[in-house]
């Protein structure tokens, strides 16, 4: 008998099914991946197993856990099962941990609840668990509050709290989606290493994660189970067209189809730019230091790096949304100076930005038509209202939306549609440079593919230059001509797409590439390539900022900051770039 048996489970909200006739099982010690796009019912299924669905959900079918029926079980019974026998890890550990309790106390509570007799050695057990999940200095962190830890450390604590009672089943709902790739690799590896004989139900949208860690996978589409089986078999020959679609949409970092380098003239120059913020006291937080880049016309440059690397600060300073402390930006021969309000109208028209989250980037009180038309009102006030409408419709069609979307409010659009409206707004003036700040990060695989294809087509038609900020190197591989890698606000490497992935010149680039999970169970998984986390920008390490995490660091790295230099067409800031081959 399996550990968990779900039989024709259905979840309805006022008649609409979000999960429909779902049946699957998880055996003891097994790792099963549950994949699907947003809205496919993955999380609802997890909540149903835990008995955490909202009251208005109508539950049907059966969920048997180790022989016990969970559907319609009493709250008391579920409480006894949760945490003791079923652990859970959510996507956002900040939401799941109580901000007012020290983490040691939160973990103690779990143990006390389930093992009241063993309270003598309970603190030692908690510290031992924190130690096992790799919390440095667990003895001291026992007394820390959740906000004092980084995102990755919080997720480790979450994992500790889920596993401390030694449950039989662990449900992990997108446990690494909010984390940087390097930290994701650490957490996944940890998850595998310490779960012992605990069965794992891993809910994710990332097929790379499933390929690397799950023995079996289940594919959900709109609440229905459409495909399921051994991971290797399913990747080799998907049984259902939707699985095929998901697999095709997953970008591969080892993909062969990459854009050729562009040779256009330089259009936007970023010269030794520095950005800093006032921090507590007289200290300044240096978000960006001495970064230079020359963007060619018709070219896409990707900017990558972990969070805190200064990607967003760099482009916001170039656009005039943040003050630039040093260096300058030059657009088409003229300097870009001062805050955006004081810049020349032509410059504001030619440089446009697309934000990560379309929901917060679109005014909820305006319809798509006025959202897009607003910049036309500013820049072409002479346009008649018919001509303006025609332009709006034209650009809407360009992004693949029809006239029927003109009257929609943002909350009436799906994530992908909203992002298209945001792109349409940026494109309606015919800009020369488009800056995309994580513009596809929040989108589902298939929608992301469509948006990337759209950007590529527009670039081909209009010669648009794009700065593409991303943390997903697989996406970067598929869209960019050149890649700028940043770490702690500094340029680490700037190279052509092909050169960067084939022969990274900097150990950090190497590590970023290795951290990306490859959606193919046959390709052997890389060991988590980077230890530790990004240091604080307030107190960056001396010498090369990367040296504390670098496995190639030598004495000079700790004392002298490497100067960026050119090496066979690649710009790199590493003392050992010419003597060590990081490509392995």
């Amino acid at each position: 008998m399996s550990l968990l048996d779900v039989n024709s489970l259905s979840i309805r909200y006022s008649g609409t099914a979000v999960v429909d006739e779902l049946s699957f099982s998880v055996g003891r010690g097994e790792c099963v991946g549950l994949v699907g796009e947003s809205g496919s019912g993955k999380s609802q299924t997890a909540l149903a197993i835990l008995g955490l669905l909202p009251r208005q959900a109508q539950l049907g079918g059966s969920i048997r856990f180790d022989g016990t029926e969970l559907v319609a079980a009493t709250e008391e019974k579920l409480n006894r099962l949760r945490a003791k026998r079923i652990g859970i890890v959510f996507q956002d550990p900040m939401q799941a941990l109580n901000p007012y309790l020290r983490i040691g106390r939160q973990l103690r509570q779990i143990l006390l609840r389930h093992d009241p007799a063993r309270d003598t050695d309970i603190d030692a057990r908690v510290v031992g668990m924190l130690d096992r999940v790799g919390l440095p200095d667990a003895q001291r962190q026992f007394r820390a509050y959740p906000h004092q830890l980084s995102g990755g450390m919080r997720q480790r604590v979450m994992l500790a709290s889920a596993l401390i009672a030694e449950p039989d089943l662990l449900i992990a709902d997108e446990p690494t989606t909010a984390l940087d790739v390097t930290v994701q690799a650490q957490i996944l590896e940890l998850l595998e290493a310490i779960r012992d004989n605990t069965a794992l139900l891993l809910i994710t949208h990332d097929l790379g994660v499933v390929a690397g860690y799950c023995e079996r996978m289940l594919v959900l589409e709109k609440g229905r189970l459409v495909d399921g089986g051994a991971t290797t078999a399913l990747f080799a020959s998907p049984g259902h067209p939707h699985t095929r679609l998901l697999l095709d949409a997953a970008p591969r970092i080892d993909g062969a189809d990459i854009p050729q380098p562009s040779t256009g003239p330089s259009i936007l120059g970023i010269e030794a730019v520095g950005v800093s913020y006032a921090a507590s006291g007289k200290e300044r937080l240096r978000a960006v230091q001495d970064v230079s880049l020359s963007l060619r016309s018709g070219e896409t440059v990707a900017v990558v790096g972990e969070s805190g690397s200064g990607k967003t600060s760099l482009v916001r300073a170039v656009l005039g949304l943040l003050p630039m402390q040093s260096g300058r930006a030059v657009y088409a021969g003229a300097p870009l100076e001062g805050p955006v309000e004081r810049r020349a109208k032509a410059h504001r028209r030619d440089l446009q930005l697309v934000f990560q989250d379309p929901v917060s980037a679109l005014n909820p009180q305006m319809r798509a038509e006025s959202l897009i038309a607003e910049s036309l009102l500013v820049h072409e006030p002479a346009l008649s209202s018919e001509a303006r409408l025609a332009r709006v419709v034209e650009v809407l069609e360009q992004v693949g939306l029809g006239e029927e979307y003109l009257g929609r409010y943002p909350h009436e659009l799906s994530g992908g549609q909203a992002q298209r409206v945001a792109i349409a707004r940026a494109l309606v003036l015919g800009p020369k440079v488009l800056i995309c700040d994580e513009a596809v990060a929040a989108l589902d695989g298939s929608v992301r593919e469509q948006v990337l294809a759209l950007l590529r087509n527009i670039q081909k038609e209009t010669g648009l230059s794009i700065i593409f900020i991303a943390h997903d190197l697989a996406v970067v591989r598929a869209i960019s001509h050149r890649v700028l890698v940043m770490y702690l606000g500094r340029l680490v490497e700037l190279a052509d797409n092909a050169a960067l992935f084939a022969r990274p010149r900097h150990p950090y680039t190497r590590a970023l590439i290795d951290a990306v999970p490859i959606p193919d169970p046959v390709v052997p998984r890389n060991k988590a390539p980077l230890r530790g986390e990004v240091p604080s920008l307030l107190h960056p390490p001396g010498g090369c900022v990367f040296h504390p995490r670098c496995e190639y660091a030598i004495d000079i790295c700790a004392t002298k900051l490497p100067v960026a230099r050119d090496l066979e067409g690649t710009r790199v800031a590493c003392h050992r770039a010419d003597e060590v081959d990081f490509s392995r």
Binding site: L319, L321, V340, E341, K345, R348, R349, L351, Q352, L353, F355, D357, S360, A361, L362, N363, P364, Q365, M366, E374, S375, V378, H379, H411, A422, R425, L429
Partner: protein
């Protein structure tokens, strides 16, 4: 989605509307008026005879007509006072929040200072110093209520200013005035509307309180507060003179509170605010 789908709004709103209509046409269809005294019919209990359904007061004036008149005055004071606080508060709060920095600090410290003034003394002084009239009551209540509104609007504006659609508008070159008008203001409506429906009952209470102290509207004009005050004196023996205006006052306050709560639900559901 319609506002009327929220039962709290439709029921309470319906009651308020009915009361308002009665207050407007009631005195007009009644054979009595609010000033004529009739010493043959003092303190008559509610009766159908002579259409005096609320009875009469100690001077023999028809209580129904006087109650309707009181409602008119009470609603008028409350609504005008709320509008005064709405305009001052929204303009003040939006400017402080959007401009930010030192301007914001100075403007909000001024608000803090005003908060420190003892409001009731302030109003009583005004009433004593100047001739008592309607206008003064409006100004007094409005001048105090706008402080809360300004704080709420400023807080909301501060968080809106950080939203990315404001950056998007700045990038394309939308003017500051247009940003406030087109991007900030419409997103404040939810909060402001809810807050106004909650300040109206506050203003009603303040007005009633002033009238109860004898500082409000003057005879022969009246308000619900003044009627309650008069009713208290006749409480023994003629309880209707107290119960009817007090009941109407409570009903109106309750309805406004329900409408406010309902509107809050409505705007929350649309993810506005």
């Amino acid at each position: 989605m319609s506002v009327l789908r929220y039962r709290a709004i439709s029921v309470s709103g319906g009651i308020l509307l009915t009361i308002a209509v009665f207050a407007l046409v009631g005195p007009w269809i009644s054979p009595h008026d609010y000033v004529t005294t009739d010493f043959d019919r003092q303190l008559v209990a509610p009766t159908m005879a002579g259409a005096q359904i609320f009875g009469t007061d100690d001077l023999g004036r028809d209580l129904f007509v006087r109650a309707m008149l009181g409602i008119r005055v009470t609603l008028l004071v409350a609504i005008v006072a709320s509008l005064v606080s709405l305009f001052i508060g929204v303009a003040y709060g939006a400017v402080a929040g959007f401009v930010g920095g030192r301007v914001d600090a100075v403007m909000m410290r001024f608000v803090d200072t005003l908060y420190a003034l003892p409001f009731i003394f302030f109003v009583i002084l005004l009433m004593v110093a100047f001739e008592r009239n309607f206008l003064l009551i409006f100004i007094a209540i409005g001048a105090v209520n706008w402080l809360d509104m300004a704080r709420i609007v400023r807080g909301q504006t501060l968080s809106l200013r950080e939203r990315e659609f404001i950056d998007a508008a700045r990038l394309t070159g939308v003017s500051t005035r247009r940003i406030i008008w087109r991007h900030i203001a419409p997103n404040l409506i939810g909060v402001v509307v809810v807050y106004v429906t909650l300040t109206i009952p506050q203003a009603i209470l303040v007005e009633s309180f002033l009238s109860f102290l004898g500082l409000g509207v003057q005879e022969p004009q009246t308000s619900l507060g003044a009627l309650v005050d008069a009713g208290v004196n006749q409480m023994e023996g003629a309880s209707w003179t107290l119960l009817i205006p007090a009941g109407l006052l409570a009903l109106i306050l309750m309805c406004f509170n329900f409408v406010g709560d309902g509107l809050r639900d409505f705007f929350d559901a649309r993810h506005v605010s």
